[in-house]
Assembly symmetry: C2
Homo-oligomer: 519 residues x 2
Amino acid sequence: MTGADLLCDTLLANGIDVCFANPGTSEMHFVAALDRRPRMRCVLGLFEGVVTGAADGYARMRDAPAATLLHLGPGLANGLANLHNARRARTPMVNIVGEHASYHLACDAPLTTDIESLARPMSHWVRRIVSADHVGRDTADAVAAARAAPGQVATLILQADAAWNAPAAAAVVKAAPGAPGAPAKPDPDRVRAAATALRCRRRTVILVSGKAVRADALKALSRIAVASGATLLAQQSNARIERGAGRVAIDRAPYKVEQALQSFAEVEQMILIGATAPVAFFAYPGKPSAMLPPSCQVISLADATTDLGLAIDMLADELGVAADVAPVLSQAARPDRPSGRLTPKALALTLARQMPDNAIVCDESVTSGRGFYGATHGAPPHDFLQLTGGAIGIGLPLAAGAAIACPERKVIALQADGSGMYTVQALWTHARERLDIVTIVCANRRYEILRGELANVGAGAPGRNASRMLDLDDPTLDWVRMANAMGVEAARAETAEELGDLLTSAMPRRGPFVIEAVL
Amino acid sequence: MTGADLLCDTLLANGIDVCFANPGTSEMHFVAALDRRPRMRCVLGLFEGVVTGAADGYARMRDAPAATLLHLGPGLANGLANLHNARRARTPMVNIVGEHASYHLACDAPLTTDIESLARPMSHWVRRIVSADHVGRDTADAVAAARAAPGQVATLILQADAAWNAPAAAAVVKAAPGAPGAPAKPDPDRVRAAATALRCRRRTVILVSGKAVRADALKALSRIAVASGATLLAQQSNARIERGAGRVAIDRAPYKVEQALQSFAEVEQMILIGATAPVAFFAYPGKPSAMLPPSCQVISLADATTDLGLAIDMLADELGVAADVAPVLSQAARPDRPSGRLTPKALALTLARQMPDNAIVCDESVTSGRGFYGATHGAPPHDFLQLTGGAIGIGLPLAAGAAIACPERKVIALQADGSGMYTVQALWTHARERLDIVTIVCANRRYEILRGELANVGAGAPGRNASRMLDLDDPTLDWVRMANAMGVEAARAETAEELGDLLTSAMPRRGPFVIEAVL
């Protein structure tokens, strides 16, 4: 029994049985321990951004953490961008980062780095396991930290000698369920304040995110909105929205500053439930950072750490929403089949028409997929997973993790080409694990969002330098060959009809498939 | 004139005219400024690990820094692993990391992170530009920091408002040449101590790295070794060795602990010139971290910040090496053409036979290429660039940067498949910039080095979990399609003859080409 064995057993005893991994020499005792535990499913990513993004997708769908295995500081560094997204999504996750043996650190061997400094900005919780004797306690604490409501990124640094030495006590420690990880009880004073505000009948937005954009919470919220006349709105970006026909259709706060300012211009009060007051994604000269008018009163009913379902129920009770007030639910609706050139709109409509029941949509389509959300309120019920932290390169890994979490459901990765290239290695994991993912690459062959931003700067038409930093068309990326190179079948669509035909054949089959949608 | 304009002008005035980049919205004013300066060559990488690795390769060949342009904390995070390698290589580099406008930071917008915490572990120097008025000074300081001998990773955090505001003074600041960045003068006491040690005729190793493994320094060192009877040895990993026929053949310290311990077992004293005393790359239970016997006396003649050429000349003078002592130079030698199955040895011999004059070899072949070094002492003169920090994923980017630095020279990327996947996006930059790079992917379809390490742990034959974390053969990566997908021509070799034929056609042509060497 090594420290690494105890670490694995502690994870398993606490319900963590999937480990997304890319190991190195310093983690070899952990690999050996994993090898002795076939109950743990080890999923290899060929780059650490795949590993962390997949762990995020898994946990968003399971509402429970997976583990990751990362090799020293550089391996962690490679996974940081998607840890950043996970941190913003409040995804539960336990990262195991290998580290040199304690006595080896003073040698400053080539791979020695300051792992804590790298880990802290993208983790809610960081601890170093300095001895095999601490493995059980530290691992259980990491699991507890990951589970702290609504979820945290917990990073454990596993020194090699703590992994290979025998712990004094080999008893597995179970993370205590409940406190301190359980969601906080809603504050009755805040419930009353929110109810009072809603009764004023001023122009009110209820802005929600986190667990408040799951289907049941949204139904309760919709009843409150109907009863009070308030507008229900989701944050711009959310970890997981349950939506589609028979569920509440909820709009999201606009991404663009002008649109956000306009949409909030008349708002007199905002009630926050698991959300934060809307701010600009980026700063722009002469434009405000806060999207609400200064006069708007902001009332926080419950932050993300609170039991949001209970807070919503308490609010409905406090308001006295009558039993016969019904939520506004989306009617099932399939658009007509579009035809002709493949535009972003045609892409959205084709998908809206052909989405299967109970799909999981991982959206990193950036500009090309902006029409998708509005077009699919009446599509079959589905989960919608977004890029929560703005660090591109999560789409394909997120889809991998979601597919592993929910093997019986079809995953649709709606993927921009520029961001898709960031973690393109994920396609190999799609193939390796035979994941049921249809990836639609929106191939506009440029960083379209940045072309728009450059125009905003007033730089005029892009010259050679700007074009060569914003365009991806020289040479053109061939996504069919790219997918094939990693063992994934693929085809190209250049018209709406071709996309429709490919979806018709791809949706009923199982396993990964890539469609390059040339826009 | 914006702060971003002044930043560009300051870079140009200080001789930095290449910017490896992957920008985002917060850097759009910088992009606009670059666009107004066609003298600056902007090279897009489709992932930041490509950007930083290419800047490393460029600077290693130019002995002068390039700039990088990275998007906020996550963009920096994606580039950190190769910054780690650059830091270990003591590569001069100026990173420009975009940051939100000062007033926007308090909003905690989705992409807000602690950039300093991320930057420090992989940078020698970090500064935040908080105002347009500081751009000139801060940028010049960054260039000076990058140039501080023998080279440093300097990271500038550019707040968006510092980029878009007008600086009070628009005068370009030139980094002062010489102090404090110039190499330190050698210490005469140390020179005398080293000379005294060499005269003792104890069993002595002169361990060298950095600028001491360039051709002229090695010739002077070889004369000292001949005169004193000492053994000349290079560090295990070096930023750039000048080697081949007509140059000094220098062995490198072994990577494996057992081999290193054996090779140093009888050493009584070691003289360090730009090198550090050898330590194990990783710690192993029951094995020492230090590779030298405890009785070995270590004398540091000059560390990396010192003028190593001068230190070596002073040592030769102090020793009184006679004018007629000649260095030991490699004789030109081409091995016979190997045939049959493509083994690592056959690969090394085929390359040794067919390398063109004056090539630049970027080696990230890990296990498969270990035979290359020994087989090419008599190959035509070439530069040999190594993975200095152990963070895999540098080979293809490094080759891109080297090719941009030296467009008239053939670059050979000797690339393992596992590490090649880390930054496979670099192939697109090879195509985009029409770089003269022949990439040989050593396709053994596994993390072979880790298979060996797992065996060392005594774990026995790998089971399912270990195999699925160490093997890359399910599915097989198709490097020909991968390269084609990114616009690079490619072919596969399965025998030594096929590899030879492909090299025969690839070497004289210009532009990128990938050979998948199936081992």
